[in-house]
């Protein structure tokens, strides 16, 4: 059974649950730091360790982030809602219950439109969103000994509670129907669009590889869009965009193979394996699993005022998809060029430069070219480079005035990154200037012709391409400061050749 065969026989129904770790400075219910990568069990206190007697207090930034996410996903925001306790025993849960939300989520009934390429061109799919709710993250178990790193066969387990209590938003879609064979692409596009929105809101660093954005893929198949929903599997830890697409494809194929063979699909949790691209069975999950939810008595209900909600709505950034479409039009880019820009993480930096008056093409060239190379060499993020929109603006002015060329401009940027001051200071200090005075250029041309006596005749015979080696020699002699076009003109004048 391959995917095409599977999808020709069945109609897939998707469901996506995304957990987002918020980028708040402190945890959801205590003042502990949320910084990633600290030594185990150093970002803990009586509250997030669940010590007897400790009580939670609510992180207001967490609530604000949840509301902004809800608004950005076109959700309604609850007038009044509560936290609930989700009771189950597990060693990574300090209190043996998770403070979450149950039947009163902060945000509900939204949608997100995603665009994908189809056989009929680009097409929009509307992903219906059921809810976005607040909860706390658990600690992290690691199982030591044994071959698999899993709990079975391990010698012992260690628990790190640094992550316990970090604010999470869980965003749950309604069943996504009508995608047909595009289910994998829609799933991927949804998570990508969600990631862009969350990044645009500045509420999370949305790093899938560090677990700050985690995705579970629910999938079921039915014979036709009219049939009732089939049994679903829930694939956990699908932690890259590529894997979202692959996991859907894999599960569609796996379900179809079972159903075609007359087997039933088991309702279960499955683990996704990034390396091998398959899922394996986890624990059997039934609807009868009973978390004994009840309203959290240690926290007050949340009743966000309508004024506050509207204030947050008014201050939302432009939807990334809308913004992207607008910039593609404004800058005259292709979708592929725009993808390069977005994937390089340079979009905001280019927008800033353009807003400061830099030509979009030039801003894009610098940020996705030279500056991306430098950042990459140094292993840092683009934003970490000390290059400001004003630097690029001045650079472009000097280039259009002919006083800098590309090579010199790159040297000026190196100066900026080395902290040597502003562009004009660097140009002056490093002596960067295009030489267009005829005297020194003519002398350099004479020198170059003398060094290669045959070349003058070659050019005169009409092989103008040979001029390149002379221009190159002049550029070398002037350490790149010559105006190459001017050198070429002077050379042709001297030899009496016209272009």
């Amino acid at each position: 059974m391959n995917y095409d065969e599977a999808i020709s026989k069945f109609d897939p129904v998707l469901g996506l649950e995304v957990h987002v770790e918020l980028g708040t400075n402190t945890k959801m219910f205590c003042g502990c730091s949320t910084v990633f990568g600290a030594p185990p069990n150093t970002h803990v206190c009586p509250v997030c360790l669940g010590l007897p007697g400790a009580l939670p207090t609510l992180n207001k930034i967490g609530v604000e982030s949840a509301i902004r996410i809800g608004l950005a996903l076109n959700c309604q925001i609850a007038q009044w809602c509560r936290f609930a306790r989700k009771n189950y025993f597990y060693p990574d849960m300090p209190k043996n219950f998770q403070t979450s939300q149950y039947d009163e989520p902060i945000a509900f009934e939204g949608y997100l439109d995603v665009e994908i390429d189809t056989d009929e061109g680009r097409k929009t799919f509307r992903v219906p969103i059921e809810r976005a709710h607040m909860e706390e993250d658990t600690g992290k178990n690691s199982h030591v000994g044994g071959a698999t790193g899993r709990i079975h066969g391990a010698d012992y387990s260690l628990v790190d509670y640094n992550r316990a209590g970090i604010p999470l938003i869980e965003i749950v879609t309604k069943p996504i129907t009508g995608t047909g064979k595009y289910a994998p692409e829609v799933a991927k596009a949804y998570v990508a669009a969600l990631r862009d929105i969350l990044r645009g809101l500045g509420v999370s660093d949305v790093k899938m590889e560090q677990g700050s954005l985690r995705c579970d893929v629910n999938l079921s198949l039915r014979e036709t869009p009219e049939s009732k929903l089939g049994t679903r599997s829930e694939t956990k830890n699908v932690n890259s965009l590529r894997s979202v697409e692959r996991a859907v494809r894999y599960e569609v194929t796996r379900h179809a193979a079972r159903l075609t063979a007359g087997d039933s699909v088991v309702q279960e949790t499955r683990h996704w394996h990034e390396d091998t691209g398959i899922s394996t069975s986890g624990r059997i999950k039934s609807d009868a699993e009973d978390y004994r939810y009840f309203p959290e008595p240690d926290l007050l209900p949340i009743a966000p005022s309508r004024e506050w909600v509207e204030e947050l709505r008014a201050s939302l950034p432009e939807n990334p998809a809308v913004r992207r479409a607008r910039l593609v039009a404004d800058w005259g880019l292709s979708e592929i060029d725009m993808n390069t820009v977005v994937n390089s993480g340079a979009l905001d930096l280019i927008v800033e430069a353009v807003d400061a008056g830099v030509d979009p093409a030039a801003a894009r060239k610098w940020w996705t070219g030279e500056l991306a190379r430098i950042a990459n060499d140094r292993g840092i993020e683009l934003e970490e480079l000390p290059v400001l929109p004003s630097h690029l603006k001045r650079l472009e002015e000097l280039i259009s005035a002919g006083s800098l060329n590309d090579k010199l401009a790159r040297q000026a940027l190196e100066g900026v990154i080395a902290g040597e001051g502003d562009i004009d200071e660097i140009v002056k200090a490093r002596g960067l200037a295009v030489v267009s005075d005829e005297g020194p250029l003519l002398a350099a041309i004479d020198e170059a012709l003398a060094a290669d006596p045959a070349v003058a005749e070659t050019i005169k015979s009409g092989k103008l391409a040979a001029a390149g080696s002379v221009v190159g020699a002049v550029m070398k002699a002037t350490r790149g400061q010559a105006d190459a076009a001017r050198v070429r003109e002077l050379l042709f004048e001297k030899l009496g050749v016209s272009e």
Partner: protein, 500 residues
């Protein structure tokens, strides 16, 4: 026996502040008393001799330096073993926490320390505050100083007994359904459950989060008010803590004037099921209140008969979740971890061995009540009853300033008498539970001995939320008349304890 132990807290504070007596002498006198009588009473689970003398010495140093002291500086206190104390064991009367030493102080404890109050040790209690007799302590029962064969009430029997046996002039209790007031009633002492949210719950091991409230225990109304004023107030660490000024309870205790007040007798809290002597003393108190110029009327709270049933759904539900953390993984006793068992097995064995029968009973009850398919019928229904109880109180307080009832239906019963009959035990709190369900403040005040058994009877006074001061005003007015009538504190009538 030093006569310091018989003195009121306010008097001791005055003696310490003036330098007439050192706080160390006061602490030592009480430590000596504990050494002499606590083998018989068993009010304390841990006595912190070193810590008590050190904090007393610190108060003395302040006296010498002429620093300003808070109202109860240098006065000793017994602390219910449910409040987290940094560096001092906190067991909640349970084997599951045996050996746990908290790394932090409850907010109430911080306030006590800052006020220079000398913590003598941790007092006995029913395991995780579940009980009305202190017989459910994993470390053995506490005995009532009035009759060592009888219970001192519960769950805070250690706190009421240490106060009434003169081991400490002050104690802190917690009250989820009556655990401060019922012990006060059966030991002839004063106890107050403040308005829910009036005293921080941070660091108090939770039984039922929506009902728990810490409060003061003492031998008279003024001392109780002073301790109340020390521990009350908003705490940002407790989301349910009320952010408004603490009522001036000390001024109210000093005012003691109820002329013109309207006092309501709750019709449903009395009559059948209440011991004859309890009724007698209660009726005398009503007459006394009228003689002081207050108007007494009867009010009906028709939902109260359902309070006990609703309470025994809400409390176990919350408790089943609150007590889930006691699994031996991160703190406390761990049982069965021999290197061959799974974490689930170790958690299970730890809990089976660590919890006593009453705790187990309530965890099972609460787990059941919260289960899918039963939630609406049990927990949901109980919350509706809770709303009705609040409405009953609202209607009553539209007519009267305070409500009164007997605190407990009987005087202290014999140890062992009700241990095998949970329902009979639960009935002890029938009059106190509605107050917790509505989050209101309540006081128990000694009003005499029941003629048939010569054991103390308590009067319950109930006020609207954040009107805790009314309890003290009414209580002090009644107390003044009774002291005059008795010729001294009622505890003077208690038998001398052997060993003293």
């Amino acid at each position: 026996m030093s006569d310091l132990i018989k003195k009121d807290a306010s008097e001791l504070a005055g003696l310490v502040a003036s330098g007439e007596v050192s706080a160390v002498e006061v602490a030592q006198a009480h430590l000596d008393r504990i050494a002499a009588v606590d083998r018989a009473v068993h009010a304390f689970l841990h006595v912190d001799t070193k810590g008590a003398l050190a904090s007393a010495a610190a108060v003395d140093a302040k006296v010498k330096a002429g620093e300003k002291l808070s109202v109860l500086a240098g006065v000793p206190l017994g602390l219910k073993d449910i409040l987290a104390t940094n560096g001092l064991p906190t067991t909640c009367g349970s084997k599951v926490l045996d050996g746990w030493i908290p790394p932090y102080d409850a907010t109430v404890v911080t306030k006590l320390r800052e006020a220079g109050i000398v913590i003598l040790g941790k007092t006995n209690m029913d395991e995780f505050a579940m009980g009305s007799s202190t017989e459910h302590s994993a470390f053995g029962p506490t005995h009532n100083p009035w009759d060592l064969e009888r219970i001192p009430g519960g769950s805070g029997g250690g706190s009421s007994a240490c106060v009434s046996s003169f081991e400490a002039p002050l104690a802190i209790g917690t009250d989820t359904g009556g655990s401060i007031r019922q012990p006060a009633a059966v030991t002839g002492s004063v106890g107050v459950k403040p308005t829910y949210g009036g005293v921080s719950r941070y660091g108090i091991v939770a039984l039922a989060s929506s009902l728990d409230q810490a409060g003061p225990c003492a031998r008279n109304v003024l001392d109780t008010a002073m301790l109340h004023s020390v521990i009350a107030g908003h705490d940002p660490m407790d989301s349910t803590s009320i952010n408004s000024p603490v009522p001036d309870v000390i001024a109210a205790a000093k005012r003691a004037d109820i002329k013109g007040m309207k006092v309501g007798i709750v019709k449903e809290l009395g009559g059948e099921g209440y011991q004859a002597g309890v009724r007698t003393r209660f009726e005398e108190s009503v007459a006394l209140i009228e003689s002081l110029g207050a108007e007494v009327v009867e009010v009906s709270c028709p939902s109260f008969p359902a309070a006990l049933a609703a309470y025994y759904l809400i409390l176990p539900s919350e408790a089943s979740s609150n007590l889930a953390k006691f699994d031996g993984i991160r703190f406390g006793n761990r049982v069965g971890d021999d290197g061959t068992k799974s974490v689930e097995q170790v958690m299970s064995e730890t809990r089976a061995a660590g919890f006593g029968p009453e705790v187990t009973r309530r965890i099972i009850l609460g787990t059941y009540a919260l289960s899918a398919g039963y939630y609406d019928a049990y927990y949901g229904q109980a919350q509706k009853v809770r709303t009705l109880i609040k409405q009953d109180f609202d209607a009553a307080f539209a007519k009267v300033d305070v409500l009164i009832s007997p605190t407990a239906p009987t005087t202290a019963f014999k140890i062992g008498e009700k241990l095998d009959d949970p329902l009979a035990m639960y009935l002890n709190d029938v009059a106190t539970i509605p107050v917790n369900m509505a989050g209101l403040p309540g006081m128990s005040l000694p009003i005499g001995l029941a003629p048939e058994d010569n054991l103390p009877v308590g009067l319950q006074i109930i006020a609207p939320a954040m009107a805790d001061d009314r309890l003290y005003n009414v209580g002090a007015a009644i107390e003044r008349e009774l002291l005059a009538k008795w010729g001294g504190p009622i505890l003077g009538l208690a038998p001398e304890l052997a060993g003293a």
